[in-house]
C-alpha cells in the first residue's frame, strides 16, 4: 500500500471514529486518534500477519479497530453500525467479534498475556509474533513491569510492545513522569530492544515495524503521538479522553478531518 493510500485509510478511520463517537455519544476519541497510524500500519501495512497475535490493551480505542475490520471485509457495515446500540458493538473489544484475539477493558494485562503467547512460540520454535499496544499511562501498572522483567530475562524475541506515548492519561498529564526519562535505555538494560519514533509518520512506522523482524530480543516501540491527533481543538487536550463533541464541535471536526487543518 502506498503512503498516500495509508494516509487515506487513516483519514477514513478518524472519520468513522468521529461519527461513531459523535452520533452515539460515547467513546474515547482522544486516545483513539493518537494510535490511528499505528493501527492502520499494523493491519493495512502488512505488519500484523494472519498467524500473529494482537492484543490492543488500550481497548477503549476499539472504534478504530472496528473501522479497520470493516474496511478489511471482516465486519459488515450492519455490524459496524451497531456501535453504541443496545446489544451492539461496545466500548471494549470482545473475542465474539471476528478478527479480535482478546477481550479488553482493564489495562496492565496485555504485555503479560502477549509474553505468554511469545513464550509458546519460543517453546514450539515458531516465528509467530505476539504484538500488544499499550497506553503510556498504563506503564504505572506493576504488572507491566513484571512482564518486562520476565520477557527480558527469557529473551522472548517474538514479543513486540508498542507504547502509544500520547502523554495524557484519563484525567491528567503524564508528560513529565520520570519513568519516561531514558525509558528506552532502562528496558535495554533489562534485555529489550527499544526504538523511539514518530507514531504518526507512516514511513517511519513502516521502517520500525519492519526492523522488529530482525531483532533477537523482545522489542519496546515507543511511538511519540498526539492525543486527539487530527482535530485542532482535540489535540493535547485531556478533555477528549472520553469527551463527546457537541453539534458545533462535531461539524468542525468533520470539516478538519475531511479537508485538514492548519
Amino acid at each position: 500500500m502506498t503512503l498516500e493510500e495509508l494516509k487515506e485509510k487513516a483519514r477514513k478511520v478518524r472519520l468513522d471514529v468521529l461519527r461513531m463517537n459523535g452520533l452515539k455519544n460515547r467513546g474515547h476519541i482522544g486516545g483513539t486518534f493518537s494510535c490511528v497510524e499505528l493501527l492502520v500500519s499494523l493491519y493495512h501495512g502488512g505488519h500484523l500477519k494472519d498467524k500473529d497475535f494482537f492484543y490492543l490493551s488500550k481497548g477503549h480505542a476499539c472504534a478504530a479497530v472496528y473501522s479497520i475490520l470493516h474496511d478489511l471485509g471482516k465486519m459488515s457495515k450492519e455490524t459496524l453500525d451497531t456501535y453504541g446500540q443496545d446489544g451492539g458493538l461496545g466500548g471494549q473489544l470482545n473475542v465474539a467479534t471476528s478478527g479480535v484475539d482478546w477481550n479488553t477493558g482493564s489495562i496492565g494485562h496485555a504485555l503479560g498475556v502477549a509474553a505468554g503467547v511469545a513464550l509458546a512460540s519460543k517453546l514450539d520454535g515458531v516465528d509467530k509474533k505476539a504484538w500488544c499496544m499499550i497506553g503510556d499511562a498504563e506503564l504505572a501498572e506493576g504488572s507491566i513491569w513484571e512482564a518486562l522483567i520476565f520477557a527480558g530475562n527469557h529473551n522472548l524475541k517474538n514479543l513486540i510492545c508498542i507504547i502509544d506515548r500520547n502523554k495524557l492519561s484519563a484525567t491528567d498529564s503524564v508528560q513529565n513522569d520520570k519513568m519516561f526519562n531514558n525509558l528506552g535505555e532502562t528496558v535495554q538494560n533489562m534485555g529489550w530492544e527499544s526504538v523511539m519514533f514518530n507514531g504518526h509518520d507512516f514511513e517511519r512506522i513502516h521502517d520500525v515495524f519492519t526492523s522488529t523482524r530482525k531483532f533477537i530480543s523482545p522489542t519496546l516501540l515507543i511511538a511519540q503521538t498526539i492525543k486527539g491527533k487530527g482535530v485542532s481543538f482535540m489535540e493535547n487536550n485531556v478533555k477528549w479522553h472520553y469527551g463527546v463533541p457537541n453539534e458545533q464541535e462535531y461539524q468542525q471536526a468533520l470539516e478538519e478531518l475531511s479537508h485538514g487543518f492548519t
Partner: protein
C-alpha cells in the same frame, strides 16, 4: 501419602507424555516435580514472585495451545492476581489450571497473608471456574491424571491424610449413609475431623471434592437426606455452604433444617500449630462435636 506427592506425582507422569503441559510457579517448589524440572527445564518455569504476570502468561500460553499449570501457595495464586484470573482466564474460558498449595491453616505460622480461608469463596465468584478441594491422596492423584480443558482451581493440602474408606466417586465421597439425619457435608481437611463425630452421633457424612460446579447427583442425594450440616474451614463465605443451599433452591426448599459450621468472618492473627488455631476459633474436634450436637434435633 502426602497429597502434594499424590497430585504432583501423577501430574508429572502426564506432563512427561504431553508436551502441551507447562508449569509456572511464583518461586514455589514441590518435591514431586523436581525430577520433571531437571528433565524438562523449559517446561518448568519459575516466573519469580510476580503472580499477576504468571497468570497473564498462563492465559497467553493456553491461548497458543499449551496447558499451563500454575502453582504456588493458595492465597498468592488467587487473591494476589484475582483480576488476571477473572479477565484473562475465566472470561476468556481458557484451559489454565491453578493449583493452590496449603488450604486453610496449613501455613499456620504466618498469619492472614497465608491463611487460605477465603480463596475458594473468591474463586467461586467466577462462573467459568471449576473448583476442587480433595481430602485424600486417591482423589488428588486422580485429579493429577487429567489435564483440565477449562479454568480450574485445585487446592492441595500439605501432609499425609487418611484415605476415605469408601467407594471413591472422585467428585464426592459418601462416607456414611446420608439417610442418617442430619448429614454432615464437608470438604478437604475437615473430612477426617468429621469422621469420628459422625460415627459418635450416628450422622450421615459426605466429603465433597468438586465444590463447583456442584455435582448434580449429590444435590439429589442431599435433597433426600433433608438436613445438611455443612462443615468448612473457610470463613463465613463458604462456597460449599452456598452450593449445598443452592441445591435445594428451586425445589421448594425441601429441607427440614440447614446448618453451617465454619470459621467466623474475621481475620486471624494467632500463631501456632494448625490444631491450635482451629481450637482457638471453634473448629477443633471438641468444639465441632459440641456445635454439631447442638444442631442435631
Amino acid at each position: 501419602m502426602d497429597l502434594r506427592d499424590a497430585y504432583f506425582g501423577a501430574l508429572a507422569e502426564v506432563a512427561i507424555k504431553d508436551d502441551r503441559v507447562v508449569f509456572l510457579t511464583n518461586d514455589f517448589e514441590v518435591f514431586s516435580l523436581k525430577g520433571f524440572k531437571e528433565a524438562f527445564p523449559k517446561r518448568h518455569i519459575n516466573v519469580g514472585v510476580a503472580e499477576q504476570n504468571m497468570i497473564n502468561m498462563a492465559a497467553g500460553l493456553a491461548w497458543a495451545g499449551k496447558r499451563p499449570i500454575v502453582f504456588g501457595m493458595c492465597n498468592f495464586v488467587t487473591l494476589r492476581c484475582f483480576e488476571q484470573i477473572k479477565l484473562q482466564v475465566a472470561c476468556m474460558n481458557l484451559p489454565v489450571t491453578i493449583v493452590g498449595v496449603g488450604p486453610g491453616f496449613s501455613f499456620n505460622f504466618d498469619g492472614p497473608s497465608h491463611h487460605a480461608i477465603s480463596d475458594m469463596a473468591l474463586m467461586a465468584t467466577l462462573p467459568e471456574m471449576t473448583i476442587w478441594n480433595p481430602s485424600d491422596a486417591t482423589t488428588a492423584a486422580l485429579l493429577g491424571n487429567e489435564i483440565a480443558n477449562h479454568p480450574t482451581y485445585i487446592r492441595i493440602d500439605k501432609g499425609d491424610f487418611p484415605e476415605n474408606d469408601a467407594n471413591v466417586l472422585r467428585r464426592f465421597t459418601i462416607l456414611r449413609d446420608p439417610s442418617l439425619r442430619p448429614t454432615l457435608v464437608t470438604t478437604g481437611y475437615m473430612t477426617e475431623r468429621c469422621k469420628s463425630i459422625a460415627h459418635e452421633l450416628n450422622l450421615g457424612l459426605i466429603s465433597v471434592a468438586q465444590i463447583k460446579p456442584f455435582p448434580r447427583e449429590l444435590g439429589n442425594i442431599l435433597r433426600c437426606a433433608g438436613h445438611p450440616i455443612v462443615v468448612d474451614d473457610s470463613h463465613a463465605g463458604s462456597p460449599l455452604a452456598f452450593e449445598v443451599a443452592n441445591a435445594f433452591a428451586g425445589d421448594n426448599m425441601r429441607w427440614s433444617a440447614f446448618s453451617l459450621v465454619s470459621l467466623e468472618n474475621k481475620h486471624i492473627f494467632d500463631f501456632g500449630d494448625r490444631e491450635f488455631l482451629l481450637s482457638q476459633h471453634g473448629m477443633d474436634i471438641k468444639a465441632l462435636y459440641n456445635k454439631i450436637s447442638y444442631e442435631c434435633p
